[in-house]
Amino acid sequence: MPELAPDTIAVAMSGGVDSSAVAALLKAEGRSIVGLTLQLWDQRRLAGHEGMPEQVQGRCCSMDDVYDARRVAEQLGIPYYVVNQQRRFEQDVVKPFVNEYLNGRTPVPCTLCNNHLKFDQLLVTARQIGADRVATGHYARVEYSQERGRWLLMRPADTAKDQSYFLFGLTQDQLAHTLFPLGNMVKPQVRALAAEQGLRVAAKPDSQEICFIPGGDYKAFLHAYLEEQGKAMPESSGELVTAAGEVVGSHEGIQHFTVGQKKGVQQRLHAHHATPFYVLGIEPAQNRVIVGEEQELHQRHALVDTLNWIALDDLRGPMRVLAKIRHRHEPAPATIRPHGDSMAEVEFDEPQRAITPGQAAIFFQQDLVVGGGWIR
C-alpha cells in the first residue's frame, strides 16, 4: 500500500516564486512532500461593486495563482491539493480587518492570516492528511534552543525580505512543526534556484498588496463588503480636533484615516495652516480625529496587548529590546515592561513616528524575536 513517509512535509504553495522554490528545495533534498494551496477568498465575490475592479486581478487565490501552484507541483511530481478555507478566512481575517478600520484602528491582516490559517489550520489539515510538519516560503528562521528549552524565531539572512514581523503569533507547537527553508537565502538566490529548476514562476513579480484587496483600495473594499453584507457604512463623520481639543475641521468618516496620514487632512481644515497637519490619533467613540503638526506624531510610549512570547515563557520585568511597530519600521531601542495582567508597556529611547493602534509591535534582541503583541 502506498504509505506516506513518516516525516512528510506539507508545503503551503501560493503560486509565487518563494513557496514554489521551497517545494523544489525540499523535493531536491529527497523529502516526502505534499503541496497545499489554501483557497481563502473568492476574488469574484465583490467584483463589480462600486469602486471594485470589474475584472479580477487580485493575487490571492486567483485562478492564475492556483494554476501556477498546480503546474509547479506537477512539474516536481508531488501530490497537490487546494484546500477550501474561505469560511475561516472570512471569519478570522476579513471580518476583523473590516471591524478594526471601523473602530479607527489600522489592522495587519497578514498576521491574522498567519495566526489563524497558515500556521494553525494548515497544521491541522497537514496532520489530518498524514503530514507532520508544514513548510512555507516566509523569510524567517526557526531553530530550537537547548539552553532555553524553547523554539526560537529569528530574522532571516535577507533582511530586506524579513517577514518575522508577521510571524510573532506562532506558538511553540507551531514553531516546532514549521520549516522556513528560505531563512538562510536571499531573494536573488531564490529566484536563481527557481530559474535553475526551470520553474515557470521564476520571474513572477512579488505580491505587494493585501491579497484579498485587488488594487489595494481598502476603502472601496470596506464599502463593497459592508454593502454585500446588507450593512451601510456606519455614520462616523465628525470633527478634526487638535491635541488641546480645539476643533479645526470636519471629516466624513474615521475609516478614511490612519495615524501619520497627511493626505486629505489639509483640505478638511476650516482655516489654512502654514504647516501641514497630520493624523495623530482616532477616537472612535466620539468620531473624532486628532490632528497636529509633524513633531506631535513622535511618541515614546505604547501599550501592547494580546501578547505572544517566543523566546520567553513570560515577561516578568523590564527588558531591553529593539521594537518594531510596523512592517517598514526600522527597529528602535526600547525598554519593555509588564503592564497589568496581560499587557506590556513599550518605552522607546527616542520618540518614534506614528505609533499606530491596530498594528503589531515586535520585540527583537539582535536577530531573535522575543515576542510581540498588538498596539492599543
Binding site: 483557497q39 492556483v66 491539493y81 484546500v83 489530518q128 492528511i129
Partner: protein, 396 residues
C-alpha cells in the same frame, strides 16, 4: 504487486473504459474514419456503426433507436431537454438536488423568462409525486426530476411523478446519467418523455451521451447546422465515441441480464456493513430508501471530508467529498444541503461509489484504509478542539 495498486471507488464521477470497448472504437479513428453523412463507402461504414450503436443504446433503456439523439454528454442532454422544451412564460418544476447541468440550466432559463419551481427533498433525499402535484400550474410545461442522485444514489419515484405530469399534460424529463448501466431502466415503464444518458459513467469514453425523446415529442434543437441526428442535433457525429458508447450499452444490458447489479449490490453491502461495524459515529444517508447498488453517502462525525479525501488519496484510495469549484477546492454538496443537512454535516460527508470492476479484496482493503485514516483524523480533531478550548479558557 497487486497490493501496491490504487483502489478506485469514485465511479459516479467517471469510470474506466473497458478494454473491449476500447477495442470496439479503435478502427473508427483510422481505418473507418468516414463522415457518417457521406454517400461513399467510408461514410456508409460510419453510418452503419452509428445505427448499430443507436440500437444498443435504445435496447439498454427499452426504447426505439429512432428516439435516441447522440450528444456530447449528460450535460448537453440535460441542457437540450430543458432549453429545447421551455420558452418564456412557461413553468418548470425541478428539485434542488438535481445535477448542476439541470440546476444551472434552470437558473439561466429563469433569467430568460421561464418560471422555475425548485422542490426540496426529504431527509432521505426523495422528492415525492405529491410535491410535484402541489407545484403544478396551468403553464407548467416540463417536470425534470433525476432518476438516481449522484451523491446519495437515492432513486426517485420518477414513474409516479411522470404519471402526475402526464395527467396534467406536461412533459417529464429525467436525468438518468447515474442510473443507466447500474440498474435496469425502462423508459416505457417510467412513462417519461425525455431521458439523459452519459457514456463515461458506464465504462465508455468521456464526451458522449444521449437524449432519449419519446416519439411524437417535439423540442427545439440546441445546436443548429447540418441535418444530423434527424435535425435534432447538428454537428458531425463523434463516431468512435458513439461506437464505444453503443458497445458499453450492449455490455451493460448483458451485465444486467446476467445479475450484475445483484453482484454489485452484494459488494456494496459488504462495504457498508463493514464501515458501520468498524467505524463508530458513521451513518449512511438514504439507507432507508431505494438506492443504486453502488453508492454510499457516508457521514463521519468529527471528520473533515476535504482532509479525509486527501488523506485517503495519499493512502491510495480514490473517493470524493462534495463538489469541486473552479480552483479545485471543495464546497459542501448542494444535494446534502437540499436534504436538510447542516453545512457541518455536509462537510463531514464523503461519497464512495463502486463499479462492477471493484473486487471484494479491494473493498476489504478500502475498509482497512478508511478505518485507520478516520481514527487518525478524529484523534487530531479531538486534540485540536481541546487546545481551542484551552485558548478560550485562558482568554476568559
Amino acid at each position: 504487486m497487486p497490493n501496491e495498486q490504487r483502489i478506485y471507488m469514485d465511479a459516479n464521477a467517471t469510470t474506466p473504459v473497458l478494454p473491449e470497448v476500447v477495442d470496439a472504437m479503435l478502427p473508427y479513428w483510422t481505418e473507418h474514419f468516414g463522415n457518417a453523412s457521406a454517400v461513399h463507402e467510408h461514410g456508409r461504414i460510419a453510418r452503419s456503426a452509428l445505427d448499430e450503436a443507436r440500437e444498443h443504446v435504445a435496447a439498454l433503456i427499452g426504447a426505439s433507436p429512432s428516439e435516441i439523439t447522440f450528444t456530447s454528454g449528460g450535460t448537453e442532454s440535460d441542457n437540450q431537454a430543458l432549453f429545447g422544451a421551455l420558452g418564456p412564460g412557461q413553468h418548470l418544476i425541478t428539485s434542488r438536488m438535481e445535477h448542476h447541468a439541470v440546476l444551472h440550466a434552470a437558473e439561466e432559463l429563469d433569467k430568460r423568462g421561464v418560471e422555475v419551481t425548485y422542490l426540496d427533498c426529504d431527509r432521505d433525499g426523495v422528492v415525492s409525486p405529491e410535491q410535484v402535484r402541489d407545484a403544478l400550474r396551468p403553464n407548467t410545461r416540463l417536470v425534470s426530476i433525476m432518476l438516481a442522485n449522484n451523491e446519495t444514489g437515492v432513486l426517485q419515484p420518477v414513474r409516479e411523478i411522470a404519471a402526475v405530469a402526464r395527467e396534467h399534460g406536461c412533459l417529464m424529463h429525467s436525468d438518468a446519467v447515474q442510473a443507466c448501466g447500474k440498474t435496469p431502466v425502462s423508459v416505457r415503464e417510467l412513462g417519461c418523455d425525455l431521458l439523459s444518458l452519459s457514456a463515461h459513467k458506464m465504462h465508455a469514453p468521456k464526451g458522449v451521451g444521449a437524449l432519449w425523446t419519446r416519439r411524437g415529442v417535439r423540442i427545439r434543437p440546441l445546436l443548429h447546422g447540418g441535418p444530423h441526428e434527424r435535425q435534432r442535433r447538428a454537428g458531425t457525429e463523434n463516431v468512435p465515441g458513439i461506437v464505444a458508447f453503443g458497445e458499453a450499452c450492449r455490455r451493460s444490458t448483458e451485465w444486467l441480464r446476467d445479475g450484475g447489479a445483484q453482484l454489485l449490490e452484494a459488494l456494496h453491502q459488504r462495504f457498508e456493513t463493514g464501515v458501520l461495524k468498524r467505524i463508530p459515529e458513521a451513518l449512511v444517508h438514504g439507507s432507508q430508501v431505494s438506492r443504486l447498488p453502488n453508492t454510499t453517502s457516508l457521514r463521519l462525525t468529527d471528520v473533515d471530508s476535504e482532509a479525509l479525501v486527501i488523506a485517503l488519496d495519499l493512502q491510495g484510495l480514490s473517493i470524493s467529498g462534495g463538489s469541486a469549484c473552479t480552483s479545485g477546492a471543495v464546497e459542501p454538496s448542494h444535494v446534502l444541503i437540499a436534504m436538510g443537512l447542516t453545512e457541518e454535516e455536509a462537510r463531514s460527508t464523503v461519497r464512495i461509489s463502486l463499479s462492477r470492476l471493484n473486487t471484494e479484496a479491494e473493498v476489504d482493503r478500502a475498509l482497512d484504509i478508511l478505518d485507520r485514516v478516520v481514527q487518525r483524523s478524529r484523534t487530531i480533531e479531538a486534540v485540536n478542539a481541546a487546545s481551542c478550548e484551552d485558548i478560550q479558557r485562558s482568554h476568559a
